[in-house]
Amino acid sequence: MSYVLAKSQNDDIHKAGECGGAVTSILKYLLDEEIVDGVLALSPQNDVYDATPTFITESDDLLSAAGSYHCAPTMIGDLVQKYLFDKKVAITVKPCDMRAVEELIIRHKINRDNIYLIGLNCGGTVSPVSGRKMIDLFYEADPDDVVSEEIDKGKFIIELADGSEEAVKIHDLEEEGYGRRNNCQRCDVKIPRKANIACGNWGAEDGWTFIEINDEKGQELIDGAKKAGILETKNPAQGAIDGREKVEGIMIKMAKKVQDATYPTVSEMDEWSRCISCYACRDVCPICWCFENCELNKPYFKDEQNIPPTPIAFQGVRLSHMSFSCVDCGQCDDVCPMDIPVSLIFDKLQKKYFNRTGYVAGVSDDIKPPLYSPEKTEL
């Protein structure tokens, strides 16, 4: 593992990208050198709250994906495994994306040789609908006037069309029930170290991206982009490295506080009493890959005649099957029509499993998924 500070040598990218545009430049290098067939990254459709995964094959189109989109809590692992399995793809990944991809690689659903993982450090994401409401309530701004947003130094910062900025402390927003999504508040993986490189502004000087190079492939990326003349790098000072480590430490500490506060509050059976057995949580789960062959589709688990559904027949079975591998991405919460805090229930059990075995889904170097490991039998 090593560190560099990097910025784009391309003026347009430098201007459009976050922290000097290093990520966009690396993606451009990969496309221009035909190292990848395409880049899967977030690009806004109608506004900054509406970024969706976009497959980009021409480097000129990368500018549309430059910048940060904290109000677009999407996942990309399932798109890669279902539709891009045979392609060489570069993917920008938050820690939960990375964890999902890692779990899918372990399950042979994504070919590690085919992908470049460009990690993005993450302090959390905000749901777009509640994010707009939050801006309406706590900022002197019209949500429609926001042209960009970022999370920095504990604040959610918006930039308006006239160039002005407004910032509110995330802690204050979360006290009022807004701010980051619940799973993000308790997430204790902030830097995606299984990605080839992990990029962010923590510890970086203005106009530069701090990059942690996690493996040989990551080093080749940086070296290649430099050689292609699109990336400039320099070594970070020790103070920058220490500063970044401090930020990560504080965020993890805050997350653990949230975990301790929220795990005891959830009552599974009460929450499941609203379950309509629509399978949205299963279908969106980036780790669930069986699709039509899922056991829960088998007649002996089908519960369609029971209204209300019996929670154990769906939720209970899925919990026992998948919670060990939960990466706490919160997609299940996001899509549940009944607002059941599915990820809280699953993450709570994953943490219990972690306490017994040390396994952190998508992070641990244990190459076997828990279901195939000896720990399963012991449990």
């Binding site: 809590p73 798109l79 279902k82 609908v129 609203r274 309509i276 209204i307 209300p308 899509v335």
Partner: protein
């Protein structure tokens, strides 16, 4: 090429947003549309399965159970329309039709002096309906039907109301329901009895949400309560259609069908909705994108574009007009194009 595009869910009147995944020009899946204000990326199973209509769409027209060319099938339709008395020809339009189609179908029917019928779940239009936010902010919610199970994205607002401290009074046909699980009081009575029992509890911040009634009289009783209400329809544009075409009650529909010799069904599955002996009708002609119970009993089936292949607008249950654009290109004809051909 992999793309994700916005559209609307067509599976009920709530008006949820839906993203579709397009791979090499074909729709292959759905993806949460989290920016959509109605559902914030949450879709029920019906909504997520709605793309099956596109995936199973008709390739050919069908005449007398045999696949045929669409132009020939449209000629057959013209012949049938020309051979019957207009008073015996009935057009059924649907809440599945978008606003532009409803206007075109109405104009077509009126110009030919055909009977025009629209069935909206035996419900009717209410001029001033509660918004979804008003449901979530209500002090008391009176729920008729298992809204949590059947219309989950309205059900979610009822859950929010409960979490905000509201009292929930639920009526259902079954002994148990998902809505009952969060209700303070539950009932299996008739709608009339339920309304009679709860009317003393209704205050200014109350809302009645319902997706069925037992009779048309129940609708008048709901209206007489002077309380905000939200009828939730089974189809995406029933509310919009109600603004253009007067709906028929169940009894009126059955009576009209008794007097019909040629029945034109525009994107509806009336055979699934109504218990009626459709074999009494001489000719049934369906205009539909994919198979349903009505197309199965139809003499002629003209394939139409799915909503994913055209642009248009729906009016959702709370009265908001929502537009959508084509997610994919298509060679199929829209209902408006078919009507133009029938008009010669």
């Amino acid at each position: 090429m992999l793309e994700i595009k916005h559209t609307l869910c067509p599976s009920c009147s709530v008006g949820c947003g839906l993203n579709v995944i397009i791979n090499n020009g074909e729709i292959v899946g759905t993806f949460p549309y989290k920016r959509h204000p109605v559902n914030a990326g949450k879709n029920c199973l019906n909504g997520r399965n709605s793309i099956e209509c596109y995936q199973n769409k008709f390739d050919k027209a069908i005449v007398s159970k045999s696949e045929t060319d669409i132009e020939k099938a449209i000629e057959e339709v013209s012949k049938e329309l020309g051979s019957a008395d207009s008073s015996n020809i009935t057009i059924i339009c649907s809440g599945n039709n978008d606003m532009e189609e409803i206007e075109a179908i109405k104009e077509f029917g009126e110009s030919k002096n055909f009977n025009l019928a629209f069935y909206a779940d035996n419900l009717k239009d209410f001029a001033d309906v509660a918004s979804y936010d008003e449901v979530a902010g209500a002090s008391k919610v009176f729920v008729i039907g298992d809204l949590l199970y059947e219309n989950p994205l309205i059900g979610r607002r009822i859950v929010h109301a409960k979490q905000n401290g509201a009292e929930i009074y639920a009526l259902g046909k079954a002994e148990e329901s998902v809505t009952f699980n969060i209700a303070d009081e539950t009932s299996n009575s008739t709608v009339e009895e339920f309304l009679e029992n709860v009317k003393g509890n209704i205050d200014d911040d109350s809302v009645i949400v319902f997706n069925y009634v037992d009779s048309q009289d129940d609708l008048d009783k709901i209206e007489a309560l002077n309380c905000k209400c939200l009828p939730v329809f089974s189809k995406s544009n029933s509310k919009g259609t109600l603004g253009i075409i007067e709906p028929k009650s169940l009894d009126e529909m059955l009576e009209l069908l008794d007097n019909t010799k040629v029945l034109l069904v525009f994107n509806d599955d009336i055979a699934d909705e109504l218990e009626y002996d459709f074999s009494k009708i001489s000719k049934i002609i369906s205009f539909a994108p994919c198979s349903n119970k009505t197309t199965e009993i139809s003499d002629i089936v003209i394939p139409t574009k799915t909503w994913l292949e055209k642009e248009g607008s729906f009016v959702n249950a709370m009265g908001e007009t929502q537009t959508f654009t084509a997610a994919v290109e298509s060679d199929a004809l829209s209902e408006i194009e078919i009507i133009e051909k029938l008009n010669g």
